[in-house]
Symmetry: C2
Subunit: 262 residues, 2 copies
């Protein structure tokens, strides 16, 4: 007897191998050039990606090539676990090694605010934006990733970071939009093209850093430094986002894939 | 119109959320205690996992907790790309950043030689083992991961590494079994519970290290330090194994998940 679940998995594997299900890579390449978050100098800083060759088919390893590397849990395309923020610190299963593995494969909606962000680098997603999206595509179902398309990943590194004297100027969600997604839509998490799930100027919002503060308080996740969100449909993609199993880890660089029906 | 691929992805997401598709974590926890491969002293060594706290809701970062870490591309549960071995060095798309993303979600078969390995830590999988498995479960289809259950992951760290004066004594595949899986079964890759895809004494085989030598020559992959293979069915699991997108990387620690119909 073949169960429906068995048939689904078989169709999945065949669809991916045959190309009717596209695998879209949403991940930045990790290299010493990968931009990292820079905090005010009084705070601890996350490490850029550094690599050290162990051997390359040479006297250090005759038949093999490999590297050691140093990185932070929040460098490049990465996952934020609830423990990353103080509001999530006392939740159960709040680290990358204890979060339920079933949470690492989940459906997504993609909300496109790229035009607004082209006009205003400090653009904040509004509840009205979400309602306009829902008028066209239907209500956001529970436990879906909400991915914010800003086209930020298409920028040069300098314009991507977009630092001025008063800090980074990059888009993100308004406090009201975060509250709506957490309280009214039971969102699985929030994924962005920028370095943080919050806007560059989100320290000025109330609460400061609403995406970190409220999503993690609710035990939900963040994804940052995504690419290729313009290649996803507004609904129907399934996101594979499985962080490294770092003991007590607050987050992790990871490969993020979207499975999309063509 | 809903395509079959759309329906498959919707069923996948619903099955995972609802529990009819189980998500089995095949990953070791990454910590300073994670055992690493130790080579003869004349060779370069891969780094154990080292972690450095950046802040923990303190003066170094008032509302957030995060870490920097150092690791090798081949520490803990990890992925081997073809460029890791000299036989794969000139292939196209042979690194973790250039391998086709569709290769990171693929079906698996699980061959259980745990009884043989309990009796002999140097046990080598034979073609006869594979043929006996196929007599029961059917021919291994093309582009399937072949996962070798040895129950090695259930051992203490000392017995897991199992080092003696002449090196590690851990199971793996015979040269003939590797040739059969690559040439006759078009295997997607080879996944093991032990630290290497090859046996601890595989330097004595012809060729030395047949799994590395022949799978990577064929552009195929390795997975090491897997756990929970005893929780998988012989056929039907779909493996999610998406390495970090390290520029020119030879491999990567990663989260390995199996999707299994209950
Ligand atoms: Mn982060
Ligand atoms: Mn390896």
């Amino acid at each position: 007897m073949t169960s429906q679940a068995s048939q689904t998995l078989q169709s999945l594997a065949q669809g991916i191998a045959g190309g009717s299900i596209r695998t879209v890579d949403l991940t930045q390449t990790l290299s010493p050039d990968t931009p990292t978050l820079v905090l005010p100098p009084e705070f601890g800083q996350c490490s850029p990606f550094k690599v050290e060759e162990i051997s390359r088919y040479d006297e250090r390893g005759v038949a093999w090539y490999w590297n050691n590397f140093t990185v932070s849990e929040h460098t490049g395309t990465h996952f934020d676990a609830p423990v990353h923020w103080v509001t999530g610190k006392d939740l159960d299963n709040n680290c990358v090694d204890t979060a339920p593995p079933a949470d690492f494969v989940a459906p997504a909606v993609v909300i496109d605010v790229s035009k607004q962000c082209a006009a205003d680098p400090d653009y904040l997603l509004t509840v009205a934006d979400i309602e306009a999206w829902e008028a066209e595509h239907g209500r956001i179902p529970p436990r879906h990733w909400v991915l914010l398309r800003t086209d930020w990943s298409k920028r040069s590194v300098e314009d991507y970071v977009n630092r001025r004297d008063d800090g980074a100027h990059t888009p993100g969600p308004s406090t009201e939009a975060v509250k709506f997604l957490v309280d009214e839509r039971d969102a699985h998490g929030f994924g962005v093209e920028t370095i943080g799930t919050d806007a560059g100027q989100a320290h000025l919002l109330k609460p400061a850093y609403p995406a970190h503060t409220l999503f993690h308080a609710a035990g939900r996740y963040g994804l940052q430094c995504l690419e290729n969100l313009d290649k996803l449909p507004p609904t129907g993609a399934v996101i594979v986002a499985a962080p490294l199993k770092i003991q007590g880890g607050s987050g992790s660089p990871l490969r993020v894939l979207a499975l999309v029906a063509d």
